[in-house]
């Protein structure tokens, strides 16, 4: 269980004003949970992810993973970034093996495990390719395999498909669902696409800026339904899905309007 308990993050802006990026946010991510944070830019969703990853200390509150308090980054939390962060001087398999190398695992074992993960993300034939030879979608798949290699307790994904074209993006969503089902990892996923959030999450939290906080939570079942039926288009076209999508859109626009009116 990953537990975020009344977490607050305050920054000092360049002009000296205090920005409340995150205001007393609480969140539980259960085993096998797929929690998606949704919101406009500036709502604190990336701040929340950076705090869970340990890149950013909290001003107040605590984050615990399996009862242990989170201080600093660690291999028990795998991170997939929006911008691909593969090392250009290493080929695909050595990029996947990076965390294993840091853990001091022998080279042969590194490659055995990395090859398995490459198979999982459908890149078994690209083990010896270099990142600059891959498309954006393929690089993100390497990024997912790399984050999984150290067998983390949770996968943190910061708008990982934000830079991809819509067709690739949908393929990646479906791949991610199958990876999630096969590995049984917890996932904390950030997006600003309502459709992506609804399709992927077992729980969607809608966040709102200034101060960054959670304004709504939805427990969902679309992702499990997809895992059974394997028909993404039918799910995304179902009235249940589209109705909820419009409801959340209205909620996001409402939050935006309130903020604009306050300024």
């Amino acid at each position: 269980m990953l537990k975020v308990d009344h977490a607050s993050v305050h920054f000092e802006a360049d002009d000296g004003r205090i920005v409340h990026a995150l205001d007393r946010v609480s969140l539980d991510i259960p085993d096998n949970g797929f929690v998606v944070a949704l919101g406009a830019s500036g709502c604190g969703k990336s701040t929340l992810l950076n705090a869970i990853a340990g890149f950013l200390p909290l001003s107040d509150g605590v984050i615990t993973l399996n009862g242990k308090s989170v201080v600093g980054p660690g291999a028990d939390r795998g991170v997939v970034f929006q911008k691909d962060t593969l090392l250009p001087w290493k080929n695909v398999i050595d990029n996947v093996a990076l965390g294993l190398k840091f853990a001091g695992i022998p080279k042969l074992e590194q490659h055995r495990r990395s090859a398995e993960l490459l198979k999982l993300v459908g890149l078994a034939d690209f083990a010896n390719a270099f990142p600059y030879e891959l498309s954006g979608g393929m690089r993100q798949r390497v990024g997912i395999a790399r984050a999984l290699a150290t067998e983390p307790d949770i996968l943190l994904m910061d708008e990982p498909f934000g830079a991809l074209d819509s067709l690739t993006r949908e393929q990646m969503q479906e791949l991610l669902v199958s990876v999630w089902k096969k590995t049984g990892k917890r996932v904390f996923f950030i997006t600003h696409s309502v459709e992506e959030a609804l399709f992927l999450g077992t729980q969607v939290i809608v966040m709102s800026p200034r101060p960054g906080r959670i304004v709504a939570r939805f427990d969902l079942d679309f992702v499990n339904r997809f895992a059974e039926s394997n028909d993404a288009r039918e799910i995304k076209a179902s009235p249940e899905f589209t109705n909820l999508r419009e409801e959340i859109r209205a909620l996001l626009h409402g939050a935006h309007d309130i903020r604009s009116a306050a300024e």
Binding site: F55, P73, G74, F81, T85, L87, W89, L98, F102
Partner: protein, 284 residues
């Protein structure tokens, strides 16, 4: 159906006659080849040189003919010049450049990396480097002689000083080019500080460092003649300087050609290193 047939007919037609290919116009030089233009320019310059000397526009003393320079090169090659064989002049110069480069690299890379990573190192080292780096080496050459004498030490120190700054500054720039996401990614994969430095910072800075070494070698060759002004009896720079005292313009030309060839070879060697060590450069 008829459209499909029509399309097939068109493509069959196109395969008989080579199709006219088009491309969007690029701005600037882009990747258009320039080698032939460069070679033609070189040939034209030599022809111009030959023409000027042939028409005797300039006295032979000031501008020897290409043939004379070639003959002189053969003479210098066989008999040496100014009391030493050409090989001795060349090896004396190469020894100085290579030794100075080794010292400048082994000081410049660690100090540059340190300056990129540590506030105190940057604050302290910035002052002397920013002060001396823009100075022409000839201006502090007298100090080198006064402080270090007229032996090899002063020559090599002069070269080291000239070559150190570009390497140090490029290593610093290399560290600064490190994206924070790359650091965070490595830390979330469990990288220790030492691992972070060895496996992330160092390879990230490598392309910049190699560029710095290439610039430093260029600076080194251009400082060499100044360094060899100091009481030498060996060296290509010394050969040129002593030839100038006897108005032996053809020997000066030979010396210049040798330095140009060496500088070119060093540059090409570093470029080969770059291709082998940083094949991803400019591709990601």
């Amino acid at each position: 159906m008829s459209e499909v047939l029509h399309a097939a007919a068109v493509s069959a037609d196109a395969s008989r006659i080579a199709p006219k290919t088009v491309r969007m116009k690029s701005f600037g030089v882009g990747s258009k080849p320039t080698l032939l233009i460069s070679l033609a320019t070189a040939a034209a310059l030599i022809a111009l040189w030959w023409g000027i000397t042939e028409l005797a526009v300039v006295p032979r003393l000031f501008l020897p003919t290409p043939g004379e320079v070639l003959t002189q090169f053969n003479i210098v090659l066989r008999e040496g010049y100014a009391g030493a064989f050409l090989g001795e002049h060349l090896s004396a110069s190469l020894f100085r450049i290579v030794l100075a480069a080794v010292i400048a690299i082994s000081l410049g890379i660690p100090l540059g990396l340190l300056m990129g990573l540590n506030r105190w190192a940057k604050g302290i080292l910035d002052t002397p480097i920013e002060f001396y780096w823009p100075l022409p080496p000839l201006s502090y050459l007298p100090l080198m002689i006064i402080w270090l004498g007229i032996g090899e030490t002063s020559k090599i120190t002069l070269l080291v000083l000239a070559m150190f700054a570009p390497i140090c500054l490029s290593a610093q720039a290399g560290v600064r080019s490190l994206p924070i996401e790359r650091v965070n990614a490595a830390r979330s994969l469990g990288a220790s500080r030492f691992r972070l430095f060895l496996n992330i910072v160092l390879p990230t800075a490598l392309p910049e460092i190699l560029t710095g070494i290439r610039i430093a070698l260029g600076v080194g060759w251009s400082t060499l003649v100044a360094a060899e002004l100091i009481a030498s009896n060996r060296g290509i720079g010394y050969m040129i300087m002593s030839a100038s005292q006897f108005l032996a313009t053809d020997v000066v030309f030979v010396g210049i050609a040798i330095i140009a060839a060496c500088a070119f070879a060093f540059g090409a060697a570093v470029r080969l290193f770059e291709r082998a060590l940083v094949p991803w450069k400019g591709k990601s």
